[in-house]
């Protein structure tokens, strides 16, 4: 999106004035009734060279769902559910495996935190959430009462392998190269927490499959691709693959949950629509990551890994030098190392965290 300046004769402007005023007034009415502002839309093209592997993430939200009640405020919070007494949701509409949805908190101390809406099917007023092993009541989220304003939320559609990369079904388009076996097809790798889950589109079975699957295994079409996670993509085709993604730019900083068991790795989408440096990402600061472990010794420090195209660059924050540094690098200061838009990063924490705050990382709001 970009703005351009257009010069028109005054008479033309006067003829258009009523229509312009009408549009403005209607826009104001819509804005006032919805009580939120629309977010800018952007697009990003990421190219995977032929025969190579790239890291990949989508720094945008999908469009707001056309289903009702996707923006509101919480009126109650339970261990693994949230409620809005006046939501009027269509029961079960947000918790199907083929069309997953997430809820993002848009106000309060946990702004930017996202939860997946899961089965059991939700009701008109209650959503059951995958709570990442935490009791949601421990987050102390504000709820609407006669005297307080509840935590704001928005419901955003999620993606699956089939919805994001397509299929060969009628009316759909497969944007990657499929094949009858995983060695001939483009490979999508999702980090499972300790090992990769490898997927490809099996053109014989006409469905997404895991590389180890047999024909009797279930379809992987509905495998969830979390928007706050990255993935790896191996292009097996003989031509580069350019993937263009369109979506809404985030209005709030993204607060993502990551693994806090000892030495665990999580591949996180930073949700940055532009390039950002390690210094600007500033994970060593307490308002970004609780208890980030800086050290002069890489083995003791929390680490951040970025895919270089053929290997992983490992970085750590050197507490003695006061800057980011690459493991084994003779040139110490890497504060200016650029992480390209749409590039996910592995985060490895050395020690376990226990509180809700320990388990999240807050990335800067895009453009901030």
């Amino acid at each position: 999106m970009h703005l351009s300046t257009v010069h028109r004769p005054l008479s033309s402007f006067l003829r258009l004035l009523p229509a312009v005023l009408g549009l403005l007034s209607s826009a104001l009415c819509v804005s006032a009734s919805a009580q939120h502002t629309s977010r800018p839309v952007g697009f990003l093209v990421q190219t995977i060279p032929a025969g190579q592997t790239s890291s990949f993430s989508v720094p945008f939200d999908a469009d707001l769902s056309s289903l009702a009640g996707t923006v509101g405020r919480l009126t109650a919070v339970g261990p693994n559910y949230v409620e809005n007494a006046s939501a009027g949701w269509t029961p079960g509409a947000f918790s199907t495996s083929a069309a997953p949805y997430f809820i993002r908190l848009t106000s309060g101390a946990h702004t930017g935190r996202t939860f997946r809406i899961v089965a059991p099917a939700h009701t008109a007023t209650r959503l059951t959430l995958a709570d990442d092993g935490l009791d949601l009541t421990t987050l102390n989220l504000a709820v609407t009462t006669t005297t307080t304003t509840g935590t704001g939320y928005e419901i955003i559609p999620g993606d699956t392998l089939a919805s994001f990369f397509g299929t060969t079904a009628g009316g759909d388009t497969l944007v990657v190269q499929g094949a009858g076996d995983p060695l001939g097809a483009d490979l999508v790798q999702v980090w499972g927490g300790a090992a990769w889950l490898n997927f490809y589109y099996n053109t014989v079975w006409a469905r997404w499959a895991r590389d180890t699957d047999t024909i009797t295994d279930p379809s992987r079409n509905d495998f969830l691709l979390r928007s706050d996670r990255g993935l790896m993509f191996t292009r097996r085709g003989t031509t580069p693959l350019s993937l263009a993604v369109v979506g809404r730019v985030l209005a709030t900083p993204q607060r993502v949950v990551h693994a806090r068991s000892e030495n665990a790795l999580t591949l996180l989408a930073t949700m940055q629509t532009g390039d950002i440096t390690l210094g600007a990402l500033a994970l060593q600061t307490s308002d970004r990551a609780a208890g980030w472990r800086s050290s002069a010794a890489p083995a003791d420090a929390d680490q951040l890994l970025v895919w270089s195209g053929a290997t992983w660059y490992r970085f750590f924050h050197n507490s003695t030098a006061g800057h980011w540094q690459r493991v084994g690098d003779a040139t110490p200061n890497r504060d200016d190392f650029v992480i390209a838009a749409g590039t996910p990063v592995f985060v490895q924490r050395r020690t376990a965290g226990t509180s809700a705050a320990d388990q999240t990382i807050s990335f800067p709001a895009p453009g901030s």
């Binding site: 693994n80 495996s97 997946r116 899961v118 059951t128 995958a130 709570d131 990442d132 092993g133 499972g192 927490g193 300790a194 090992a195 889950l197 490898n198 895991r210 590389d211 180890t212 699957d213 047999t214 295994d217 279930p218 992987r220 509905d222 495998f223 969830l224 693994a259 068991s261 000892e262 030495n263 665990a264 790795l265 083995a299 890994l305 992983w312 490992r314 592995f346």
Partner: protein, 268 residues
């Protein structure tokens, strides 16, 4: 589960009357007058009283401690239910080297274990898929392994996958595995969450959980789930206390019966 067992233990003891504890209220020690010696025995505790034979209470012969009950309780604590993911033998279903990992060509299959050596890195290089296991009642992950020379990987990672490939990951420090000696480490599962199908485990993998950059040198003997770790010291203490109570009760009862018989025969 352990908490439930401990509750059952306490309820069983209270209900059976095998061992009853009394709370003795604390009182200030007596103040002695000048020259008064503190009595070495309670003053009224050994006063004999004459009673008629009819007054001798009828007592059942002292029964031996209920070893069947004790055995049941100890058995449930010491023999928990378990679910094997892999015994790392050469049988089918024990898993195999995962393709495209640094473990390819670096694993030696022993009779009942695998040894990871060579240039294997700390990625998850061994595992199995296509399973259908119900681990919903399991509470611990148990890994038996030993550290071998040259290991630099700091952690062992287990990744569990359900049928829809949602994952749970558990890690444990390699320093908990002894050098050259198989050691079993129990990792608490801390409860299954709503977004994971614990009743339908489809696959798993084991390794360093990394993107592969340091040497991984371990020998694995067994990995699986269990309902209880080895009894903790508190559990051993409870069992010891139970045994002591039973022994004391049985002994006192026996001594009491002998004394009663002596008193009765003396009166005759």
């Amino acid at each position: 589960m352990r908490r439930v067992l401990q509750f059952l233990l306490a309820a069983t003891l209270a209900g059976s009357g095998v061992c009853s504890a009394q709370i003795i209220p604390w009182s200030e020690p007596p103040v002695l007058a000048d020259g008064e010696k503190f009595p070495t025995r309670p003053r009224a505790s050994r006063r004999a009283e004459k009673i008629s034979p009819e007054e001798i209470p009828l007592r059942a012969p002292p029964a031996a401690p209920d070893v069947s009950l004790l055995g049941l309780i100890m058995g449930s604590l010491l023999s928990p239910a378990s679910l094997t993911l892999s015994s790392f033998d050469s049988s089918a279903g024990s898993g195999s080297v995962r393709a495209n990992t640094s473990w390819v060509g670096q694993v030696t299959q022993n009779a009942s274990s695998i040894t990871v050596a060579g240039i294997a890195g700390d990625d998850n290089g061994w595992g199995a898929t296509g399973l259908s296991l119900d681990a919903s009642s399991m509470t611990f992950l148990a890994i038996t392994a030993q550290r071998d020379a040259g290991n630099l990987a700091p952690s062992v990672f287990i990744q569990i996958e359900d049928r829809t490939l949602r994952t749970k990951v558990y890690s444990v420090s390699t320093s908990l595995f002894a050098f050259g000696t198989p050691t079993t480490v129990h990792v608490p599962l801390a409860g299954w969450t709503i977004d994971f199908g614990a009743s339908d485990i489809f696959g798993w993998s084991i390794g360093g959980g990394n993107v592969g950059d340091v040497a991984f040198r371990l020998t694995f003997s067994d990995v699986g789930f269990t309902t209880s770790a080895i009894p903790e010291p508190s559990t051993y203490a409870a069992l010891l206390g139970l045994s002591a109570c039973l022994a004391v009760a049985w002994r006192r009862r026996a001594l009491g019966l002998v004394a009663d018989r002596r008193r009765a025969s003396a009166r005759r």
